[in-house]
Amino acid sequence: MKTEDLIAALAADTVTDTPPRAILWPALVFAIAAAVLVVWGLLGLRADLVQSLANPMSVMRYVLTGAFGALGVRLALVLARPEGRGSARLWPLVVPAAAALAMLVWAYASTPGEGRQMALVGKTMTTCLVMIPLLSVLPVAAILFSLRRGATTTPALAGFAAGLGGSGFAAMAYALYCTEDSPLFYVTWYGLAIGGVTVATTLIGTRVLRW
């Protein structure tokens, strides 16, 4: 086929796909709502949810996970465009990461020696490490789905962004159930769960985000 003929055929196709951004928002809102409903229906919200909002250490769980969620999604949207690779900035991620580490260190120093072990392991470590990845499935899938509509030129990094954004919001939903308010617990185990999902999604990205 001559290139001129191909151009004629391409030009006759006036159907344009929806930009990734327009797909992402509805899909993500739906996925996060579903995650919240699962937490509510399956695990139940924490009984002292309203009172816990007066505790800054407890509120920081939403702030940190929400920050990773939002930064991950924003990064994914930049990377959905082919030229996004050049303009994507990773350094904003340092802010919540540094804040989380600082809180971990602070909690370690301010928790009396005999209480550290208990605060670190908590009572729900296993639930946390199982539920956050499970709750991540829909939000991560929503972001990957819209990235596939995009044209990322860096599939691994885009997968990383999808994993971080999706699991960040999933952990935020999980925090509605979780009563472990010590940074020793949540920075460690939320962090591990988010990290695990993000590594897995980075690998998935290298496969499903190629085009």
Binding site: E4, A9, L10, A12, D13, P82, E83, R210, W211
Partner: protein, 177 residues
């Protein structure tokens, strides 16, 4: 907005004449880039790669945002696809194609190159999709004429055509890996 931006903006709004103009404008430039990177593979292979790039640009044109410059967007797609396509053909690729500014536009060779790969891929489509693409591309039929010949509404022809190009890109992916 430069000429490329306005053409692509009109094209994405559904103006197929502007789109033809856009594709005709970028094709010699892209051909120059492909030849500069994969010249050792011969003109025919380069034309195959060029067509692959054009198909990718076509299917990803909705990722360009009106108001942003076209060239960085376009060259990012080209870089990604050219590296991919040349690697798949066993060519040693220079990945450092950062600056395309100095690449000269290239016209097709004196003997208008008949690229083989795309025709092969079209042959793998289902009968109706294949006919559709050939009628519009090679025979120069309009969407309305194709609709009449294949007993389809114009809307159905447009949807089928779009789907055919997506399938072609998928086939391409599977074949070069």
């Amino acid at each position: 907005m430069d000429d490329w931006s306005s053409l692509l903006a009109e094209a994405n709004a559904g103006d197929s004449r502007a789109y033809t103009a856009f594709l005709r404008t970028i094709t010699p430039v892209l051909r120059g880039i492909v030849r500069a990177r994969g010249g050792g593979l011969g003109e025919a292979v380069c034309e195959d790669v060029l067509q692959e790039v054009l198909l990718a640009v076509h299917l990803k044109r909705h990722t360009w945002q009106v108001g942003s410059p076209v060239r960085p967007w376009l060259y990012a797609i080209v870089r990604y696809k050219v590296v991919d396509a040349l690697r798949a053909r066993g060519g040693k690729v220079e990945v450092q194609i950062e600056d395309f500014g100095d690449v000269l536009a290239a016209e097709p060779g004196p003997d208008p190159t008949e690229a083989a790969d795309m025709a092969k891929m079209i042959g793998l489509l289902d009968d109706r999709s294949g006919r559709l693409v050939r009628m519009i591309g090679i025979e120069g039929a309009s969407v309305a004429e194709v609709g009449k010949a294949l007993n389809m509404t114009e809307g159905a022809v447009r949807v089928a055509l779009h789907r055919a190009f997506k399938t072609l890109a998928d086939l391409r992916e599977r074949h070069i890996r």
